[in-house]
Amino acid sequence: MMQKFAPLTKLLLTLFITLWSIMLQSMTALGLLIAGQLLLLVASQVRATVYKGIASLLLFAALLAGIQLALSGDTTLAITTALKMTAMTLVFFILLATTRMQDLSIALVSQCRVPHEYAFMLTAALRFIPDFLNESKAIQEAQACRGYRSQGNPLKRLTAYAAILKPLVLKAVSRSETMALSLELRGFANRRMSSFRSRVVLTARDYAAVMVMTGLSVFILNFC
């Protein structure tokens, strides 16, 4: 479902939901906002791995609520903070799970007027997260074959983790150098003549969605 909308609409949705999460104070309203986002995800038929990420997010939110409760002793504040954090983060799952990175980059450059270099940096960073995780897994396996174990107290584990972190950083740096060279060789700096293959124009559906979001914002501002 969300795949049918233009990247700019989804960027605006991200912005609106972030604002609503800040504005809304009631647990019921925040709960409804989260439920609505989950419904959007289900309707968009995203991959199962997205739900794994959401499960981790919920776990983190619960942990956050626990810490808040322990520090302030205010149950309402703890739950509201956790719900706000979940609502704000969940929308990024919708954006990233339903938008192609190159389309997002095009929307940022051509519609949001973000400088191409910055837009590329953002989308490249997001694009390489799964690769980075895979590389981290491969390095962990390579070091496990040399006796690496993630055991003991947190300090011991942190020290041992250097065996994973150092090759990972070295590989990432080397990869970024190769990528930068490869991009230069393929005319990355040639901005004056560049064009995009994909089109990310807004349709009637997108304009309708923007109107609904604006209307909801006015409603929240006046009544919540």
């Binding site: 590389e135 390095i139 496990a144 074959c145 040399r146 090759p167 070295l170 080397s174």
Partner: protein, 271 residues
């Protein structure tokens, strides 16, 4: 020393990466695993190293199931050399990089010093002991990865396509090193696509075919097998040439040197 008993493994429920593989690796063997890309070669060795656990069946090390073992436990017995040595290099000098394994396995400082020096000497890296590992050539890095595995004193060495991306000279050096280690009593298991290497060095070949063990025998038997092409393999040049000139009394061989010798003798005898 290592035995696979009807091992099955799948990464996802639908795809069976390894199916009913049974094999025994004997101490002192020089064994090669060949097959198409995605046929299950690397997955099989990962199972042997306990990086993955069989979904059914068992892997036995000296008769004991490896199911409860972690890769770190297996490192006492098996040295695993990955295709890409950059994935493991992280210390400031070659010496300290090699000593990481023995340190993790809890050897005494004297043992760590001795095993590291020994591994560097065997792999021809003693002169580079103080060098920064990232400055080494690809071949030297591969030998560093082998030294890192050897320093843990394993009886079996598994190497995943160690010659890929190396020049001919480094390749020869590496194969000479493997032969030396084999002569010293190490069991060698090599994953390779290179049929010349297989013909020259392996005593026994296992061919993986769609996750199953397609063949288990000598290189000479493999090159005569009718399914060779179906497994995505081809006989080495020496074998093909010797077979086509068999009518002139040339013996069939997988190796180039004896073929050239025999051909020169035949040609010299001709008026």
């Amino acid at each position: 020393m290592l035995e696979c008993c009807s091992v099955d493994f799948s990464y996802k429920a639908q795809t069976q990466a390894i199916q009913q593989v049974s094999l025994t690796i004997h101490a002192g063997e020089f064994l090669a695993i060949a097959g198409r890309n995605g046929s299950g070669k690397t997955t099989l060795t990962r199972l042997l190293m306990a990086l993955r656990k069989p979904t059914s069946g068992d892997i036995l090390l000296h008769g004991t199931s490896t199911k409860p073992y972690s890769p770190a436990d297996m490192a006492h017995h098996i040295g695993y050399v990955f295709q890409n040595p950059d994935r493991q290099i992280f210390r400031d000098t070659v010496f300290s990089e090699v000593s990481y394994g023995p340190e993790q396995l809890g050897y005494s400082p004297e043992q760590i010093q001795a095993y590291t020096q020994e591994a560097l000497a065997v792999t021809g890296l003693s002169a580079l002991a103080g060098a920064y590992p990232s400055t080494l050539s690809r071949g030297q890095k591969q030998r560093l990865a082998i030294a890192s595995a050897l320093a843990m004193q394993p009886a079996l060495l598994i190497l995943d396509e160690p010659t890929s991306g190396q020049d001919a000279q480094e390749c020869q050096k590496l194969l000479a090193l493997l032969n030396k280690l084999h002569a010293q009593g190490k069991t060698i298991l090599l994953i390779t696509h290179d049929m010349e290497i297989l013909a020259h060095h392996a005593q026994r070949v296992i061919v993986m075919d769609h996750g199953r063990k397609g063949f288990d025998g000598s290189p000479a038997e493999l090159f005569q097998h009718e399914d060779l092409a179906a497994w995505g393999l081809s006989a080495p040049s020496a074998f093909t040439i010797s077979r086509s000139v068999a009518a002139f009394g040339i013996r069939q061989t997988c190796l180039m040197e004896p073929l050239i010798r025999e051909l020169s003798q035949k040609l010299r005898r001709k008026p």
